[in-house]
Symmetry: C2
Subunit: 353 residues, 2 copies
DNA sequence: TCCTTTATGCAAGGACATTTCATAAAGAAT
DNA sequence: ATTCTTTATGAAATGTCCTTGCATAAAGGA
């Protein structure tokens, strides 16, 4: 699936590296790029850029558009223009739960093109099967008009502990899936890379990429509700933990009593939350803390209570915010996970210094 | 200081990359390597290896030894033999405290060649100045017989919070150094890269590299004593935190009361420690927990108490051990930090897939 | 002394990248 | 309409680096 690089002993490595650089330049650029523009941006010589563009166009990664000579101050011979074909394949983000299966279809840049949801009443968790998941994913793809498109990667949020390989280790809400290799089964049927991750962790990833803590290097995200859990971003990357169980702080007594919060007690709740988080904040020293949950007009009071408590215990109190992401956070995180994989595989990581 | 790589548009990149591969092969190999052996190991063609070896020898990174034809089953023309000149420069590890300044001098592989200690009674912390530090480091280098050698990097453990750039942010034990840019001042005088890090964090690094949790991907290390603090290894790397204050869990009430533990109360102490660590273990899901401190024959009782408490709260209880590293842990961590920098700069990171 | 084995020396050939000079296509000026 | 200026493309020459393949060197064993 991933695109391999030749070894350093093969001169073809240079061509591959340059092709990547150029593809990445087009990927990163919102507007169109001209040949001469790429030469200037990358510092690579024109003949090389030209050859790479030809190869990339042949492989359908990019396409050449007709030259544009319109516009006022445009002097000289019109430049050849190119664009990244972000519709070349798709990414899938998936939120698996007992109340809904939510599927997001995105282009390779991560822009969501279509959303599809299948709702359940939550009383029959055994409805959630590999077959049902496949059915809804395929329905979503068909609705989006991408039947037959290549799926570059799929990121799935699952309510439970999942190993790095994608095997369900344990789940309180859907115990019948324990032991199932979700990643392998979905991967085989959909013929793509499937990444399965704890749902709270995926929501954390979404928070980091497009939410309140956008681009902070290290973030603690706390999900409140029936059960409290958390997720950690460390150095810009999601922390999975040794068993894939990082973030499961719901078992803590200090936080457990606060289940099912009443809005009247929001200050008390905030105090408990702050005290519970203090250990984590002191240990990790994050840049930001984000709280996910429904607080309506009590938001300010909650934040104040949490901040006060953190101030009491911590050396450095991070920024504390309430999440603005809604019910689509987990699936959005799935799209990000898939997009990360796509960029790693296809565009390559930054060059090792 | 660091060795830069040409851009991918320069064919010389290949040569640099191959030179690195070959240098790393010699660095990683304990015994001597022959030319033909390197060819087989790396897969690079012989003429290329030959050219790279010649360049590396010219730059004094490696040296050629006389061919060795002795030995029983050694048939054929004797191979040319090469070795990495691990004495080409040195690494320095430093432990700065109010009771001692400990300096470790190591070769570029991280093997400690010499230790030097300057003891203080702890009552006059203002003794610890940049000038005094320099004096002891220079004394250590001279004693080790490496006067004039190039220092590739120095890693310093400091009792306080230090920014990533090396500026002392706060320190309870040596408050007079607050605001001092330790890294910059030492770097200028010693003409080398200086990395300053919290001392507990450096001890954590040492624990990860040569201690009880050797090579675990994620580790929580707890330092007990007058003041409790911790360090985290995440994905094999030390967690600094946004302000460089990661691990300062000593401010927690649940842990604070346990200061100055009496050995009689070791079970009670272990329970408090386990309860305090539970939040961290649940959040991070580490592979191992290591406890540093003096417990003598009470060790087993302490471990049992901590484990019991962790079992009560956690989903997955990590392995819990007591540290075997002694008073030299911080300086050892400094050597590792310096060694990491050396390997990154000189040998390069693994090639980005 | 000759054969086998292991290793080095050297030349030929191919892939890439860069620089340089010539040509093409547009707007602006005469 | 023609010419000039600007911007961009086309194509050839040159050099670096790597690999393959053949010849040579240096050891032990028969």
């Amino acid at each position: 699936m991933s695109i391999k690089l030749p070894s350093p002993s093969d001169p073809a490595l240079l061509r591959s590296l340059n092709r990547r650089t150029i593809l990445r330049t087009l990927f990163d650029s919102d507007s169109l790029e001209t040949l001469a523009g790429i030469v200037k941006k990358t510092g690579v010589s024109r003949p090389t850029v030209e050859a790479s563009l030809a190869e990339l166009a042949e492989q359908k990664w990019i396409e050449e558009l007709s030259p544009d000579s319109s516009g006022p101050g445009r002097l000289g011979r019109p430049a050849r223009r190119f664009r990244f074909r972000n519709e070349f394949g798709i990414l899938v983000g998936l939120d698996l739960g007992i109340h809904k299966i939510l599927v997001k279809i995105a282009d390779t840049r991560g822009t969501v093109l279509h959303e599809h949801v299948y709702r359940m009443d939550g009383t029959s968790p055994e409805q959630l099967t590999v077959g049902k998941i496949l059915e809804e994913v395929r329905a979503a793809i068909n609705e989006s008009g991408h039947r037959g498109s290549r799926i570059w990667a799929m990121g799935c949020g699952f309510p439970g502990v999942v190993t790095a390989a994608g095997v369900v280790q344990r789940s309180v809400v859907v115990p019948h899936l324990t032991g199932v290799n979700l990643a392998a089964e979905l991967s085989e049927q959909l013929n793509t890379v499937v990444l399965v991750e704890n749902d709270a962790n995926l929501a954390t990833l979404a928070e980091h990429r497009e939410g309140a803590s956008h681009d902070a290097r290290s973030v603690v995200v706390v999900k409140t509700g029936r059960r409290i859990s958390s997720g950690l971003i460390i150095n810009g990357a999601l922390l999975r933990g040794h068993h894939g169980a990082a973030g499961e702080i719901g078992a803590l007594p200090i936080l457990r009593w606060a289940e099912a919060p009443k809005l009247k007690d929001v200050v008390e709740y905030g105090q408990a939350l702050g005290a519970g988080l203090a250990a984590l904040v002191l240990a990790v020293d994050p840049e930001a803390v984000v709280i996910q949950g429904e607080f309506k007009d009590q938001e300010a009071a909650l934040l104040a209570a949490v901040r006060t408590e953190l101030d009491r215990f911590c050396i450095y109190t991070p920024s504390v915010q309430v999440s603005k992401l809604g019910a689509g956070a987990v699936a959005a995180g799935g799209v990000h996970l898939a997009g990360d994989r796509f960029r790693t595989d296809v565009l390559g990581l930054s060059f090792a210094q």
